[in-house]
């Protein structure tokens, strides 16, 4: 009897130990999970912080207020350069008149200022014959110095800005003629050789046009393919082969799609190089498998009873699918399409082969105009040596991330909105 009691007690203790160990294991597992999530969040925060800290300055630009005499004679002669020089030398009468001295003075403002003055006159001819204050972009070294990126304590030959220019910046500042202003031209211009003038609009429009081609082609084709494979295709060897290939296509490196596009769209069909139409075609090929797979999953998740009920009432299979199955599958289908689009928006490699990683100044006006895309613009700027491009790179990355965030947000919103319970 006593031995029986002893065994019960010892087995009780063993059971307790086991229970304790199990609880500890559970807590440990949860801790690992929390650690993993914290690490991921930490990396995200570091990444975002570094991008934002480098990029936010890209959204502001140092500008100089010049007092320009829009002299009729000079304008008629087309001597905008002389007009600018006059206005600068009025600000700094003691700058000297030698060619080298004049050039140093002109380097205070962006090399594109001459064209800006001409555009101002063309936009508003009433300005001719008046004297107006005009804010013009400062040159890249001035901009970088004003933003505190250049150390004035360095010896003159080691910094990209001369002592004379530093003195002039100080004078401008004292006169309230230099300031950091919102960088409108970043959103209204295409690429430029001068970092202060470089803008992102051409890339945004290029991306938008290419994505438009992608969505118009890949969404209907993808959804219809999914419908056919799910609802109509006979289940045989051929359809299984097609299914396997679609699944494999989703994992094909995107550069391969670029090679295919180069060989087929450019060389065989002779579509224009660097154009949104060709880039969009390649991106649709790349997006199709994603859309097909997610649409098929969404269609399969719709209870078959909807289609059965409709068919029992005398609807055809096509009617049952278009009236009941597709609307019920819409959230999943749309989410898949948007995720596919977001991936296409961030894609550079296939477009490399289509010539869309290009220096594009003009904002593209159509599907056949030369254009580039946002991630390609980021890549191009990241490759440029001028300091001004570094912050432009980060700023463009922020814009790209913003678009991706909006698209993913849209996907979540649509899923919530159209989600129905059955």
């Amino acid at each position: 009897m006593s031995s029986y009691a002893a065994t019960t007690i010892s087995s009780q203790a063993a059971a307790n130990r086991l229970l304790l160990r199990r609880k500890r294991a559970e807590r440990r597992f949860q801790l690992y999970g929390i650690l993993a999530i914290s690490a991921a969040l930490g990396f995200l925060v570091v990444f975002l912080a570094s991008i934002v800290s480098r990029g936010y300055m890209g959204f502001v630009q140092t500008e100089v207020r010049l007092t320009v005499d829009f002299d009729q004679e000079l304008i008629e002669a087309g001597s905008y350069r002389k007009m600018l020089r006059t206005s600068l030398s009025e600000l700094f009468p003691n700058a000297g008149s030698s060619r080298a001295e004049r050039r140093t003075l002109a380097r205070l403002v962006s090399a594109g200022t001459v064209f800006v003055l001409r555009e101002t006159v063309e936009a508003d001819p009433a300005i001719i014959g008046t004297v107006e204050d005009v804010w013009v972009l400062a040159s890249d070294p001035v901009d970088q110095f004003y933003k505190g990126r250049i150390d004035a304590a360095l010896p003159e030959e080691e910094r990209p800005i001369s002592d004379a220019s530093l003195a002039r910046i100080a004078a401008l500042e004292a006169a309230g003629r230099i300031d950091l202003r919102f960088n409108r031209s970043f959103f209204t211009r295409g690429d430029s050789r001068n970092p202060e003038e470089a803008g992102i609009l051409a890339a945004i429009v290029g991306s938008a046009l290419a994505l438009l081609v992608t969505v118009v082609l890949s969404f209907p084709v993808g959804v219809m393919t999914a419908v056919y494979l799910e609802a109509f295709a006979p289940k045989n060897r051929i359809t299984r082969l097609i299914e396997i290939n679609i699944n494999n296509l989703a994992a094909v490196p995107s550069i391969v799609f670029g090679l295919l596009g180069l060989a087929v769209f450019l060389n065989v069909f002779g579509l224009p190089r660097s154009a949104p139409i060709s880039g969009g075609l390649v991106l649709s090929l790349m997006t199709l498998p994603t859309i097909i797979i997610s649409s098929r999953a969404a269609i399969r998740a719709v209870p078959p009873s909807f289609a059965e009920a409709a068919i029992g009432l005398g609807a055809s299979r096509v009617q049952a699918i278009f009236h009941h199955v597709l609307p019920a599958a819409a959230p999943g289908t749309l989410t898949g399409a948007i995720i596919g689009m977001a991936r296409a928006l961030g894609e550079t490699a296939p477009l490399l082969m289509m010539g869309m990683v290009a220096f594009v100044v003009e904002v593209p006006g159509g599907f056949t105009d030369p254009s580039t895309v946002l991630p390609a613009q980021v890549y191009l700027w990241a490759d440029s040596p001028e300091r001004g491009f570094a912050e432009k790179t980060a700023a463009a990355t922020i814009v790209l991330l913003g678009f991706l965030l909006v698209m993913n947000g849209l996907a979540v919103y649509l899923r919530r909105k159209f989600e129905k319970q059955w």
């Binding site: 909807f306 055809s316 609307p327």
Partner: protein, 261 residues
């Protein structure tokens, strides 16, 4: 119990002759002969997998949806073929409506659920006609008083029993002659089941009803004729009262007394 309608209308509504159904290489139904009389409730009973649902789905050709399913034999509705390859299944399914095991209203409003069939077949040229069809169908299905104030709400927001009656309303909105019901109460609680059974009893004055059921009390309560199927064969088909009190076949006796199945 003497069947009055069978006497006054000796022509059967539905006739099945030598019906066999195969799923791929597997035969599910073996040479079934059966006559269904007009405006009667006929119950199909039998153990799971005996082929009663398969047989039911032959009448409105729902088995066509299953890829490797094929059938032989002849089936007639009012004397005209319904099993042949050139039968218009849309017409057929308008005349033979179906109610499924699990209530399956569309994720749309109550109104749109009922209006779907009439819209599909262009039965209501004006909005007023459609409103009338919807109201009549809901009334006949005995659910109008419960939903008349919320026909714009989703059909899926109703209770299970209401959903099933909505599905019956949806089926009768296309004015069929025959209603097929595939275990219509198996997903419902006893009170909702009683309501549906009462409804079936009322509907039989206008429709020929075939009901598949697992519940033998239900078959006894609602049907005039009962067919007992086992392993794909029709074992016995007779007046319900006779099947449940004095069956001719020993296996029918065994099944209804709960010895197997």
């Amino acid at each position: 119990m003497v069947n009055v309608s069978a006497l006054s209308d000796p022509q059967p509504k539905l006739v099945a002759r030598a019906v066999s159904v195969y799923y791929g290489g597997k035969q599910a139904l073996f040479d079934i002969d059966l006559d269904i009389m007009s405006r009667e409730v006929t119950a199909f009973i039998g153990p799971s997998g005996c082929g009663k649902s398969t047989f039911l789905r032959c009448f409105n050709r729902m088995n066509d949806l299953i890829d490797d399913c094929r059938s032989t034999g002849s089936m007639l509705l009012d004397g005209s073929d319904i099993a042949g390859p050139d039968v218009d299944v849309v017409q057929l399914r308008m005349r033979i409506g179906m109610v499924f095991q699990k209530p399956n209203p569309f994720p749309k409003s109550v109104y749109d659920n009922v209006a779907y069939g009439p819209r599909l077949h262009g039965m209501a040229p004006t909005r007023g006609d459609l409103d009338e069809i919807v109201e009549t169908s809901l009334r006949r299905a005995g659910i109008w008083d419960e939903v008349k104030d919320r026909v714009d709400q989703p059909g899926t927001s109703l209770s299970g029993g209401q959903q099933q009656r909505l599905c019956i309303a949806r089926a009768i909105a296309v004015r069929p002659d025959v209603l097929l019901m595939d275990e219509p109460c198996s997903a419902l609680d006893p009170i909702a089941t009683a309501t549906i059974e009462e409804l079936i009893d009322e509907l039989k004055s206008e429709y020929t009803i075939i009901i598949v059921t697992h519940n033998m009390q239900q078959a006894a309560r609602v049907s005039q004729k009962t067919a007992f199927l086992n392993l794909g064969r029709l074992i016995e088909f007779d007046e319900t009262q006779k099947i449940f009190t004095n069956p001719s076949e020993p296996s029918t006796q065994d099944y209804i007394t709960g010895r197997f199945g």
